[in-house]
Each structure stands twice: as C-alpha cells, then as structure tokens.
C-alpha cells in the first residue's frame, strides 16, 4: 500500500530538496550548530587538557611465558612462580598467550596495549644470578599501563629481595606497541567522535519526530509527494555530513593542539556512515513511539545518557566493574567507539570488521522499526 499511496520509488530529487531545506534550517539554528560541531571540539580541548585518570579495579594483562623448561624440580620453574604471583597480585587479570604468537601482533589483534613477556631461560638466569628482563608492553600515559608495570616491577623487586638481598636480577624492559608513543588524547578522539555521532542525530531526531507530530508538520508533508522513507534518508544524509565535518574538526584539533597520533584510513568511512544512520533512526524510533515531545525528551535521555558514559566515550570501559562492562556490550555506541579505536589507534581492521558487522545488524533492525512505527497518516 505504501507504493500506492506514496508514489512508489524513492526519488533523489525529492530527497535533495528536503535535504537542502533541512540543512539550511540546521545551519541557521545556532543551538544545533553549537551541539553538532562546536561542543565536541570543546570536549576534546577540556579532556585533552585535563588528561588524567586514576583507576581501581583489575586490569587485563596478556602474558606470554617463553620459559617452558624442562625443569628438574618444580621449584626451579621460577617463571611459573612469577606468573602465579602476578595472578595473585589482585590487580591484574591474566590472559595467557601461546609462545607461538608474536606478542605485539597478538596485542594489536585483541585491541589491547598491556602485555608481559617472560623470556626463555628466565628461571635458569634467575637461579644463576644473571640479569634477565621481563618485557612490559603498555601505553605509558594510560592508567592501566601504569598498574601493569607497577605490579610487575613490585613483584620483580620481591623476587630480587627474596634471593639476592635486593641485587637487581630481574629487571623491567618497558615497551610500547607502536613506534610512536600512544597518548590519552589518541584514545579520547575516537571516543568523542563516537559521542558526536551519537548526540547530534539522536537528540535532533527525537526532538523533531515528536515535535513535527505534535505541530502536524508530518501531516503537512504527507500531503506532498515526499515519502516518509525519503524524509528519513535526507535526515540521515545530513547527519552523515555533519558527523564527517565534526570528525575532521576533532581530529584536526586533536593533532594540532595535543599532537595526537591517529591512523586515518578508508576504514573510517563505514563508521561515519553507519553510525549517524543508526542513531538518527534510533532517535526517530524513540520520538515516534512517544506520546508527546515531553515524554520523547525523557525517553531520549534514558536511551542516550547511559550510552554516552558507558560506551568508552570519555574513559576506557576496562576500568569499569564487570557488570557495567557487560552492560556496555549491549550498547550500540560501544561498537562504534570500539571500532573507531580498532581502526584509528590499534590498526586492527579484523576486529573493526566485527564491530562493523554488529553495527550493521543493529542499524538494519532499528531503521526498519523506525520506518514501521513512523506514521505519515493516521487511521
């Protein structure tokens, strides 16, 4: 029936006409412009300047124990004892990495920066009082990395003290994943890009789809050949443009003001297209099923705020308690930000593709639901 009543095929001419009017209206509205473009940049400046972070809770560390023996007695497996001690330190959650893996590559594949390598011959060197280094991978400016290196360092001191009265036998060799040092700002930029991808389309669509219903603007539009699908597409297109401009501004400010290092590749494009599509459709769904603009505003906040704070926007989710981390995994924004991190910071395209697939499925479901519940006309 949609075809019969709405004129059928989607028309690029009508989408463009509606796009022009909407974008012009948006640009004339200083409020929208502030939240769409200026506000995320201000956040970058504020968070970049504050740059801090203390954390409690356990940090996940990847451990590769290359000292596999054989050992004459279990007591001679000092490497094994070292790992057991790390595990019972209370600050780290250990993930054992097979010796066959290349550690930097493995960390990148798991979008992680914290890793510990115990070298082959560790136990023998220790027992022979020959200096041996444990390699600690980390991001020096991240709070999780300092927890890892602090734990490993403390433990090494303990082992040194126990046998050699403090003579430094076990040493630490710090290492980072990238040749360049990764800073907090590098992680902050993808988070805040995710924030801007969420906030503008979400709040705008919640607002207009409930407001237009109340002021009968949808009714007015339904009397023209414009279809509801064309209307939604033109909004989605605008928020893709807005998010892309916002993206460039934030990356630009991050690089110029804080010397951020982020990788810019073609793989960012699908996130900048699907992200705004998802949140525009979600905003429209919330606005459409709400009774009036007031309840739509409340519902919009209930959906948006947890996502804004729990998806790794301002801080990594690894510092949150387990149940909140579990919650983060059901929030669509989490996959947008994780995907952006995988592309921009870790260069892990394989993991980014998985994020992209999750986003694609959620977007399809939300988009179809939004179009389904959105009524141009009333029975």
């Amino acid at each position: 029936m949609a075809n019969k009543t709405n004129g059928g095929i989607i028309s690029g001419r009508r989408i463009l006409a509606d796009f022009k009017v909407y974008s012009r209206g948006y640009l004339r509205n200083r409020f929208g412009l502030f939240f769409g473009l200026i506000f995320p940049v201000i956040l970058i400046l504020i968070f970049g300047a504050i740059f801090s972070g203390t954390s409690t809770g356990k940090v996940t560390a990847y451990v590769q124990n290359n000292d596999t023996g054989p050992f004459a007695t279990p007591q001679m497996d000092v490497a094994g004892q070292f790992v057991t001690a790390l595990n019972s330190s209370g600050t780290l959650d250990l993930v054992m990495v097979p010796t066959s893996e290349d550690m930097p590559q493995y960390l990148a594949n798991h979008s992680a920066s914290d890793g510990i390598i115990i070298p082959a011959g560790f136990s023998a060197s220790y027992l022979a009082e020959q200096r041996v280094n444990v390699t600690v991978y980390g991001n020096p400016s991240s709070s999780t990395s300092s927890i890892v290196s602090g734990t490993v360092g403390g433990l090494a001191n303990y082992f040194n003290l126990q046998r050699f009265n403090g003579t430094s036998v076990i040493g630490l060799e710090p290492a980072t994943l990238n040749a360049e040092q990764t800073k907090y700002i590098d992680f902050l930029i993808p988070g805040l890009i995710g924030f801007s991808i969420l906030v503008s389309p979400m709040f705008s669509l919640v607002n207009i789809s409930s407001e237009y219903k109340k002021t009968k603007l949808f009714k007015q539009l339904s009397l023209t050949p414009l279809t509801k699908m064309e209307w939604l597409i033109s909004k989605v297109l605008w928020y893709i443009v807005l998010s892309s401009v916002s993206f460039l501004l934030m990356v630009g400010v991050g690089i110029m003001a804080f010397g951020a290092h982020v990788t810019l590749t073609i793989w960012l494009v699908p996130f900048l297209v699907l992200g705004p599509t998802l949140f525009a459709a979600l905003g429209m769904l919330v606005g459409t099923v709400s009774k009036n603009p007031e309840s739509a505003g409340v519902a919009g906040n209930i959906v948006t705020f947890p996502m804004m704070f729990l998806s790794g926007t301002f801080f990594p989710i690894s510092i949150m308690p387990d149940y909140l981390q579990g919650l983060a995994h059901v929030l669509p924004l989490f996959y947008v930000i994780e995907g952006l991190n995988n592309v921009m910071v870790y260069g892990n395209i394989g993991a980014a593709l998985i994020d992209l697939a999750v986003i694609l499925v959620i977007t399809a479901v939300v988009f179809v639901a939004a179009v389904w519940f959105f009524k141009w006309r009333e029975d």
Partner: protein, 314 residues
C-alpha cells in the same frame, strides 16, 4: 477540470468515522460542484476536520462512499495529493525557512516549475518573501500556507479554518486572497466556525453538528428551510401580545419588550396592526424581520459559537 468526465470534484454519501463510542462523522452526504466555494460550518467537535481529513486522504473512513476528483482519497493518496491543495488547521512549517524557499521546496517535491514571486503576489505576501517562518505573524503564516497549497496548481483547495485565531485585519486579508482564488475559478472547500466568514465567501454551506449535517444549501435556502420566515415586530408590552393573539388568532411571541407576529400572508401584518390600534395600549416602532443565518445556526446547533469555536448553549 483536467478530467472532463468529472462533474463534481467531491461526492460523499453515508460517510462514517467513529472513534470508539464517539461518532465523529455519522452518515453525512454532500456534493461540491466545480468552481464553487463550499463551506462546512459548525462548532468545535462537530466533525468538520475529520471530514476534511478523510477527503484529503489523511484519515481512513469507517464506511460510506468518498470520491475526490473521481478517486478514493485513501487508496489513491498520491494521485489525489498531486491535484489538491491544503492548508491544515493551524498551518505550521520549518521555523528557519522563508516563504520563497518553502515554495521552491514544494515545487521540487511536486516536480513543477513555478514563479515563486507570482504565487507570493497572489497571496499578498511578496513583501515577506525572504522572512523566516518563525518571524512571520499569524496572518502571514496562514498566507504562506495558502501559497504552498497553490504550488501544484490544484484543481481543488481545502482550507481548514484558515482564519481561526487571527485578528480582524488578518482575517479580511485572507478573505481577499480566497475571493481572488474563487474569481480564478478554483473549487474551494472551507471549514469555519465563523458565520460571517461562511456567508462572505461561500456559494453553499453545510452546517454540521455532532457528526451530522443539519442543514445545507445556499444561505438563503437554509434560512428559508430552517428559519421562522418573515415576522412583524412591534415594540410593546406583554399585554399587547396577549391582546393581538386573542383577537386575531395569529402566532404571537413576546420577548423583552418586543411583540413578534409570524407573517404567513401579507394581510397578517395589517390584521395585527389593526388589533394593536384597537387595544388602546402604548406601542412604538414597527418593522418586518427575517431570520439571519446566525438565527438559524443558533437554532440548529442549539447554542452560539464563541471566538474559539466552542459551543455555548443558550
């Protein structure tokens, strides 16, 4: 008309639309002829807007026959919308868009080429062509609505309470525009709760109340059918009324110092005056009167309608 076979742009019969127990439209029938201005008159809640929205293809009817330009407006919404123009009640538009931009948008949507300035001249809004919608006055906003309804050169225009809430000057300005459109031969369906508006603008009127049409025709026809006919009014006392009634057998009413005698034939006036003279009572001015549309309306909907369209029962 583009389609030569269609004589009447609107034909509806036995149209019904219920919302639960509320019978918004309950079996109405009327026809709108090409080139006429047809007014649907009635208090708020009479069913005018529901009727109009069914005709515009915005609401689905429950039952009955509805033909707009020969089509079912719900099933053929797109085709009907291509050929009608509409101003909904309390026309609203994107805040940061000017009348000129809005006309261009509509021209693109309808895929037609129009001269925006000419349309703005037609609705007397050319001096506000580039003013954003949120800076327009109430009357100017309605004119912009009128302008947009003209973009697709419609065969049929629906104006749903186009002057509600406007000041008298703005109302008269909208009337001017509507008269201009009528002069160009457009068919117009107008809903209003202003009697003067219906009388000033329309060729024919249908009065709606509680989902029913209680009268329809030209104003004169409605007054003739539902009015009390011609009457003689004499300023005088209730005693005078009693005297005239008892001596002549005529139908006499008394209300607030006015004695009213129904005139069924011309001689009745002479008979009544002779009775008045013979009464030796005081009597003042005399005049003959006929019901206005207002009088008939008040009788038909059992009340008067205030400025906002609410019915005040007398």
């Amino acid at each position: 008309m583009r389609n030569g076979e269609i004589v009447n742009p609107i034909e509806i019969s036995d149209l019904r639309k219920y919302y639960g127990d509320v019978k918004a439209v309950d079996g109405i029938k009327f026809t709108v002829k090409a080139g006429e201005v047809f007014a649907l008159l009635g208090p708020n809640g009479a069913g005018k807007t529901t009727t109009i929205e069914i005709l515009e293809g915005l609401r689905r009817k429950d039952s009955g026959e509805v033909r707009v330009l020969g089509m079912d407006p719900w099933e053929n919404g797109h085709d009907v919308h291509m050929r009608i123009g509409v101003i909904p009640q309390e026309f609203n538009f994107f805040e940061k868009t000017s009348p000129r931009e809005a006309i261009r948008l509509y021209a693109s949507l309808f895929n037609v080429k129009v001269d925006a300035d000419e349309i703005l001249r037609e609705v007397l809004l050319e001096d506000k062509a580039d003013t954003l919608f949120d800076s327009l006055s109430g009357g100017q906003k309605q004119k912009m609505g009128l302008a947009l309804s003209l973009v697709n050169s419609p065969d049929l225009l629906f104006l749903d309470e186009p002057t509600t809430g406007l000041d008298p000057n703005a109302r008269r300005a909208i009337w001017e525009v509507i008269r201009g459109l009528k002069a160009k031969g457009r068919t117009i369906v107008l809903t209003t709760h202003y009697l003067d508006e219906a009388q000033q603008l329309s060729d024919r009127v249908a009065i709606m109340d509680h989902g029913h049409i209680v009268a329809q025709g030209t104003s004169d026809e409605i007054i003739r059918q539902h009015g009390s006919g011609e009457r003689l009014e004499i300023n005088g006392s209730e005693g005078l009324a009693d005297h005239i009634r008892s001596t002549t057998g005529l139908n006499v009413h008394y209300d607030s110092g006015v004695v009213a005698i129904a005139l069924h034939k011309k001689d009745d006036a002479l008979t009544a005056l002779q009775a008045a003279k013979s009464s030796n009572m005081d009597w003042g001015d005399i005049r003959t009167k006929r019901d206005s549309l207002d009088d008939v309306f008040v009788r038909l909907v059992s009340g008067i309608v205030d400025e906002s369209g609410e019915l005040r029962v007398r």
